[in-house]
Amino acid sequence: MTITQEQELLEQAAEIAQIAEMTDLSTEGNQFLTFTLQDEEFGIEILRVQEIKGLSRITPIPNMPYYIRGVMNLRGTVVPIIDLRAKFAMPQVDYNQFTVIIVVTIGEKVIGLVVDAVSDVLNVAEENIESAPDLGGQADTTFMTGIAKSGERLITLLNMEDLIGAETISM
């Protein structure tokens, strides 16, 4: 990653932080950081997000499922990196300048998620969140907490515990 890319990312992150500040923080916690994978939009609770980081060197861990890309040095902490495209069995693309790692906390653990790009911070009122549709075994929806509606957009809200949970990291 070049320095300009890093800078771009930092600006991007600063922008998001700004948006976060502008948004009314007093509303009851329904704030989500949204990001894209392929053409779909996903959201995770903002309180889980520790930081957004540019891609840096990932050390592969042998004999791991495909979506566990390896580990990365996050200021001295060794953090596992999970590729969400791979986790959702979406077609792989080469990592590019927009590819970012969202660092989230799950319990005591810190984990990095590779996503295509982060989009914004969303404030969703309770009534605009619908529970995850039950597709009767057609699709696995256990890792969804619901679907948020924001204007035209539909955002899949992810439940980190279920998505990354015990099978990936021992909790």
């Binding site: 861990i61 001295g76 596992p80 990291i169 021992s170």
Partner: protein
């Protein structure tokens, strides 16, 4: 303001358990040197401190119990009651009860069931006289034995933030009252400011009182042991002491000095050391050590970047800085080091109790107890060591009759020794017992199908068989052994600490168990190797040698296993790239390098692309944020900031199977 009493209670419990440890150590010593009054004094002081503090903190069960204990100790100190094996026995039992009572108060565990019994025994020895009061009209000797009895003028001025510490002057005054008779007490309120200036949470009062007590000053001082430094506590004796006293004092001093030349100083020195220590929360310490670890990584990144920018010229500043950082790291790691003495003491206690129970005579010798080890290691090595010492006493040492019959002295000998050697700590456990019955072990191993009856095994190899699960050598399961924990568990525990254990036994002569442990678990000397585009770290401890084999030295066996011949020895080759799933790594041993590693006594060769060099690695465990990975012992961060995985030699081997 609400004060959280828990932290004071915590420190009370910590200190109390330290006192208990001291008591136990002194009691064990007292058994061999019953005339040592200094030891009795130590025990008494410890009991007294626990008693004083426990009433301050309202842990009453402990206070009542120590009171009974203290009365007995006091009379022993005065020479009214002799130190016998019976008294020592009861006192040791009291120490156990005390520690049980304390942990009951601390963690809410069940109180020891034998408290009443021990109290009864204490009182019995004390001749039914459980309290001080009845002692007065006893003998003239008693009065003479109280040269310190006297009148004290006591000044007690709590510091202004006394209440903030959760302390109550009244409780302390009441405690003082219990130590004797208070004939006069005056409240000094001269420091009290006007109402407007007064901070209701501060303390402005002071007390002066006249106390008549038969205890000496240091005991009275103990009442105030938990107050802060700014609190004034003064004891003054208004009358000059009796004329004969200085002589007695001098005598005592000379004996003390004489002793100091002999054996006593070790115990004393460690006592002072403890007092100078600072209690720190383990987590805080760990996080500081971690951060210094980061600093080390940071400085090597700076070094590398500087080398790139400057094209190889040295920067004096960076060299200086890097030296400081490395020193700092070494020092920070030493903060985690604690001596093994406490563990050894536990062993001494077990040898004593067990040998009494089994009717054996054992002389237990300890050396190197000041040797320091990482706290985590010390905590975890205790159980395995205790298991092994039980084995020695139970199965190793014979009964006196059997020993005499075998032409050995009736008294058995067990020694424990800790020492440094080559970046490791060794703990050696040696007994002169009957050794292990090698034929029986071999036969058992054959019966269980662990070895084949035609296998030729060296004496050493047969000894090592006891580390196999399900090979207990106890002829009969006593209540001492046969707890379902075998030497296999011992070995596993030690291996979890990145250590190893070896055992050697000679029939009729004795058994020696040697445990090797790393100095610390936080850092390891590593050999950096490259494999494809990745860098891996092999713990240097397991590395024997590395070389590039010639074609004729490498053979492929029928089951697709490659082996290499090293000076006549056939060593299997592990293709790391296929085990670790790395493409584009060298698969021809003659093009790459072989690193021979050793795990216990089995050797194997790891095929790697190249050696990069040797480096100290700060170990980061993967479980912190992830989970355990087979074949990987942990991770470390290289100078360029990327993560390298540390290979786990033991589990690597199992990955190939």
């Amino acid at each position: 303001m609400k004060v959280d009493m828990r932290q004071f209670l915590e420190s009370f419990f910590d200190e109390a358990s330290e006192h208990i440890e001291n008591m136990e150590a002194a009691l064990l010593q007292l058994e061999s040197t019953p005339d040592d009054t200094e030891l009795l004094n130590t025990i008494f002081r410890a009991a007294h401190s626990i008693k004083g503090a426990s009433s301050t903190f309202g842990v009453h069960g402990v206070g009542e119990f120590t009171h009974v204990l203290e009365s007995l100790l006091d009379r022993m100190r005065d020479g009214e009651i002799q130190v016998t094996s019976e008294t020592t026995e009861v006192l040791l039992a009291s120490v156990d009860v005390l520690s049980g009572l304390l942990s009951a108060a601390r963690d809410g565990t069940a109180e020891p069931t034998n408290t009443a019994e021990v109290v009864a025994r204490l009182e019995e020895i004390n001749g039914g006289k459980s309290s001080h009061a009845s002692g007065d009209d006893d003998q003239p000797a008693e009065a003479a034995a109280e040269p310190s009895s006297g009148v004290y003028d006591v000044l007690f001025r709590p510091s202004s933030h006394f209440f903030h510490l959760g302390l109550d002057p009244l409780l302390l005054l009441r405690d003082l009252e219990e130590c004797g008779t208070v004939s006069e007490m005056k409240l000094d309120w001269s420091q009290l400011p006007s109402i407007a200036e007064m901070d209701p949470e501060s303390s402005y009062l002071a007390w002066t009182l006249t106390l008549q007590s038969d205890r000496d000053e240091s005991e009275l001082q103990d009442v105030f042991m938990f107050v802060d430094d700014e609190t004034t506590v003064e004891f003054n004796k208004p009358e000059p002491p009796a004329a004969e006293e200085p002589v007695a004092d001098e005598q005592e001093e000379t004996t003390a000095i004489a002793k100091a030349d002999g054996k006593a100083p070790a115990a004393k020195a460690s006592g002072t050391l403890q007092r100078e220590s600072v209690r720190v929360n383990g987590e805080r310490l760990d996080s500081m050590i971690n951060q210094i670890g980061e600093l080390v990584i940071g400085i090597s990144m700076v070094e590398q970047e500087w080398a790139e920018i400057s094209g190889g010229t040295d920067s004096a500043a960076i060299v200086q800085l890097s030296k400081i950082v490395r020193d700092l790291q070494e020092q920070s790691l030493s903060l985690r080091m604690v001596p093994v003495a406490a563990t050894f003491q536990k062993m001494a206690r077990i040898v004593r109790d067990l040998s009494n129970r089994l009717g054996k005579k054992i002389n237990f010798e300890v050396s190197g107890e000041e040797t320091e080890l990482d706290k985590t290691v010390v905590d975890q090595i205790g159980d395995p060591l205790i298991h092994m010492i039980r084995n020695s006493v139970d199965h190793g040492i014979e009964t006196p009759e059997k020993r005499v019959a075998a032409g050995k002295p009736a008294e058995g000998h067990i020694s424990v020794r800790a020492y440094h050697q080559g970046g490791n700590i060794f703990i050696e456990l040696k007994d002169d017992g009957k050794g292990m019955d090698l034929d029986r072990i071999r036969q058992k191993a054959i019966d269980r199908g662990i070895v084949h009856k035609d296998d030729k095994l060296s004496q050493q190899e047969i000894c090592e068989l006891v580390f196999h699960a399900g090979l207990s050598t106890a002829e009969q399961v006593t209540d001492v052994s046969g707890r379902g924990v075998g030497m296999d568990v011992v070995r596993r525990n030690i291996e979890e600490l990145k250590g190893s254990v070896t055992l050697n036994s000679q029939p009729g002569i004795g058994t020696t168990v040697t445990v090797r442990l790393p100095l610390t678990l936080a850092i390891l000397d590593g050999l950096l190797i490259s494999l494809g585009s990745e860098v891996y770290v092999i713990p240097l401890l397991s590395v024997v040698e590395s070389f590039r084999p010639r074609k004729n030295e490498v053979k492929r066996l029928a089951n697709n296993m490659d082996v290499v011949q090293v000076r006549g020895e056939v060593v299997p080759i592990l293709h790391l790239h296929s085990i670790l799933n790395i493409t584009e790594a060298q698969s021809d041993p003659c093009q790459g390098l072989l690193v021979i590693v050793e795990d216990h006594d089995t050797k194997f060769a790891l095929l790697v692309d190249d050696l990069i060099g040797q480096q100290q690695a700060v170990i980061k465990n993967l479980e912190a944020n992830f989970r355990k990975v087979n074949g990987i012992a942990g991770a470390t961060i290289l100078g360029d900031g990327r993560v390298a995985l540390i290979l786990d030699i033991v589990s690597l081997k199992s990955l190939t199977r």
